[in-house]
Symmetry: C2
Subunit: 365 residues, 2 copies
C-alpha cells in the first residue's frame, strides 16, 4: 500500500533540493513507498513524482494488477505491452505532464539504457538523485528497528549452527548451501545476499564469490551472510580457524576485533561518519596494517543491504538516531589471508544498539 | 579468464554497427567474456572495449584482486577507492583514451545514475547497446547447451518432488522454500530467480511475488522456478490442481497446454520469433481467451534468465540453431485464475530440443 506520509516526505525533499520531479525504477525506494518489491526484469517500470505532488507510474501490462493493487484506484498508470513496447507510454506521459526541460532526479533502479531511450521522448535534465533517496530511507523507526533486530538474531543463530558444521574436507560450497538453508529454516524470508565463504588464500578477497575450494587443516574461513525479515536485512561476518592459528593470524584477529569493538563504541548521535571510520583505521594503521584495510569501515543497511550512511573517510555526514549500518573493518593481505568481524548497529542517542551478538572471540575448530 | 575469441566477436560487432566503443557494467556480458560474475553493488565497475581492440577496466579497489586474476597481467585497470570515489578514475581513463565525442554503446549493467556522473567527465555519445550485447550471447554452443540441459533436468526433478509436498493447509511460502531447497539439493548452484508460487486468485498475476496465502481445497497453483548450472539457467512452469478442477479450468488448461505444445512444434531454424508467438496466440485467441494472454510467448535464456530472443508479436528476428528460449503462453483472468505450462527449448536445425520434460498432463492433488 502506498504511504501518503512517505510520499509527502519525498515531495518535500524534491522541493528542498530545487528539483521538478523524480523517477524511480524497481528499487527499495518503491518498496519503501508502496510495498512493491523490486522484482527487476528488462521491462521498464517507472514511478514518477513531481514536486507539485502529482505522480504517475509507467507499468508493463504484465505487472499491472499488482501495481494497481499497491497504488490504489486513484493512481494514474500508463500501461505498455510486450508487443507495443515502452516508447508509447513515454509519449503519453510526456503529453500529459510536459516534463521536457524539467530537472528530474533519477534513482538507482533506472538502467542507463532505459534513461537513454526515455531521454529521446521525455527530454528533461536528468540528475543523479542518490542524495535525496538516501535521505528518504536514512533513519529507521521502531517498527523497522524490530525487523532489523530479528533479521540479526536469525543471522546470529545461523552462525552458532554453522560453526558446528565446518570441518576439513568439506567445500566452501557445502558451507554456503548450509548457511542458506539455516537462514531460511531459522525464520529468514530470503537471503539478503549470496553468502560469502572464503577460506585459505581466498579470504584476502573481501567479496570473494567463488566457492569451489575444499577446507583444509590450518585454514581460516571468513563467513559473511544475512537474511531479510519483513524486507529488512541482516549482514554479519565472523572469521573462524581450523586448527591452531599462526602467531600473525592471532595478532591480526586481535587487531580486527579491537577495530570493530572500538569503532562501535565511538558511535553516537552527532558524530560524523568519517570519525567512526577513523577510529577503526587508526587502530589498524598504528599496528602497521593500514595498506591492507582496503575498504570502508561500514555501509548503511535497511531494505537494501548496502545503503546510506557509508562509514568511510571523507564522509562528513552527521550520524542521527535510527541510522543503521555495519562496522566491519578488515585486513586483507593478498596471497596470505584476510579477516573481519562485522556487526550491524543502530545509532541510539549517546550510544548504539547492536543487532548482532554472536560470539566474537577467536573460534578454533 | 578472459576469452580472446569472445572479446574479438564483440569488437567485430562494434565495427559492424559503426560504434567507437562500448562500456559494460556488472552483467552477464562480462561473465560471458571474462568469467567475472555479476555481483552488483553500488560501486561502479566498467569494462570498456574500443573498436580498435584496446580495452580497459574501471574497478573499485575492493574487487581489484578478482578482476586482475580474471583479466590477466596485461589488462589496463583503473582502480578507485571508497575514499577517493570513482570520478578520478573516469578522468584518468578519459585522459588516456580520449573518449569525448565518441559513440559508445552501453550495456544493461550500467545504472542511469552512474551514466549521468560518467557523462560529466567522459562526454561521449552514449547509445543503447542492447542489440549488440544480445547478439554476442545469442546462440549457445554444445558446452553451453549441456549446462542448460542439466539445469533443466534439475528443475524437472524438483517439480516431481514438489508435487508430493503440496497439500491444503500449507502456505505458498512453505512451497517456495521447499522448491529452493530442492533446486540446490538436486545439484543447482543457485536459484536463477526467486520461485513463483501463485495459488487461487493469485495465479492470475504472471509474476506474483508475495507468498503468504495458505493453500485451500479446490485451488490451482502455478509453480515457476529454475536454477543455475555452471552459470546457465533453467526456468519452468507447471500448474497443478488441488481437488477436481472446474469445467472452465479444465478447458483453459487444455488450451494453455495445446498452445505450448504447438508453439514448440513450430520452432525451427529460419522461422521468425513472431511466427512462433502467433501459433500460441492464435490458439488462445480462437478459443476466446485472447484478451487474457497478456504477455509474450517466451523469452531467451542463458546466463541471464531473460535475454534475447524474445518470442513476441512484432519481433521479426529469424531463429537460428543454438538459440534457447522459453515457450510459456498463459491465460490470466483477473479475479478468477491464471495458468501456464512452460518449457525451455533450443532451436536445432529443422526442430528443437526441449530442456524440460516433466509431466505436462493435468495433475490433480
Amino acid at each position: 500500500m502506498l504511504s501518503k506520509a512517505k510520499l509527502n516526505h519525498l515531495k518535500e525533499l524534491l522541493i528542498e533540493n530545487d528539483l521538478d520531479g523524480c523517477v524511480m525504477g524497481p528499487s527499495h525506494d518503491v518498496e519503501y513507498l508502496a510495498g512493491i518489491k523490486p522484482f527487476a526484469d528488462e521491462r521498464f517500470r517507472g514511478f514518477f513524482l513531481l514536486s507539485d505532488g502529482r505522480w504517475f507510474f509507467i507499468c508493463p501490462e504484465l505487472y499491472y494488477e499488482d501495481v494497481r493493487q499497491a497504488l490504489g484506484q486513484e493512481a494514474h498508470i500508463y500501461i505498455w505491452s510486450d508487443t507495443t513496447g515502452v516508447m508509447g507510454a513515454f509519449e503519453r506521459a510526456e503529453h500529459d505532464y510536459k516534463l521536457q526541460g524539467k530537472t528530474i532526479a533519477v534513482n538507482d533502479g533506472i538502467r542507463a539504457i532505459d534513461l537513454i531511450d526515455m531521454q529521446r521522448v521525455i527530454n528533461g535534465e536528468y540528475v543523479n538523485g542518490s542524495d535525496i533517496f538516501e535521505e528518504l530511507r536514512l533513519t529507521k523507526d521502531e517498527e523497522e528497528a524490530r525487523y532489523m533486530a530479528k533479521a540479526g538474531e536469525i543471522a546470529d543463530k545461523t552462525f552458532e549452527e554453522i560453526v558446528k558444521f565446518i570441518k576439513p574436507g568439506i567445500s566452501e560450497r557445502q558451507i554456503t548451501n548450509r548457511i542458506k538453508e539455516l537462514l531460511i529454516e531459522l525464520g529468514g524470508e530470503e537471503l539478503s545476499f549470496n553468502p560469502i565463504v572464503a577460506s585459505g588464500l581466498n579470504s584476502s578477497k573481501p567479496h570473494y564469490n567463488d566457492d569451489k575450494r575444499i577446507i583444509e587443516e590450518q585454514d581460516l574461513v571468513v563467513l559473511d551472510f544475512g537474511c531479510r525479515y519483513k524486507g529488512y536485512c541482516s549482514d554479519t561476518s565472523r572469521t573462524v580457524f581450523i586448527g591452531e592459528p599462526t602467531e600473525e593470524q592471532k595478532k591480526v584477529y586481535e587487531i580486527c576485533l579491537r577495530a570493530t569493538t572500538e569503532a562501535k563504541k565511538a558511535v553516537r548521535e552527532g558524530i560524523a561518519a568519517e570519525e567512526v571510520d577513523k577510529v577503526a583505521r587508526d587502530i589498524i594503521t598504528q599496528e602497521g596494517y593500514g595498506e591492507y584495510f582496503i575498504c570502508r569501515t561500514g555501509h548503511g543497511i535497511g531494505l537494501a543491504v548496502h545503503e546510506a550512511p557509508f562509514i568511510k573517510a571523507g564522509n562528513k555526514q552527521i550520524l542521527r538516531s535510527g541510522m543503521c549500518f555495519s562496522i566491519e573493518p578488515g585486513i586483507y593481505i593478498p596471497g596470505k589471508f584476510g579477516m573481519r568481524v562485522e556487526d550491524i548497529i543502530m545509532v541510539d542517542g549517546d550510544g548504539s544498539r547492536s543487532f548482532n551478538n554472536s560470539n566474537r572471540e577467536m573460534i578454533i575448530i
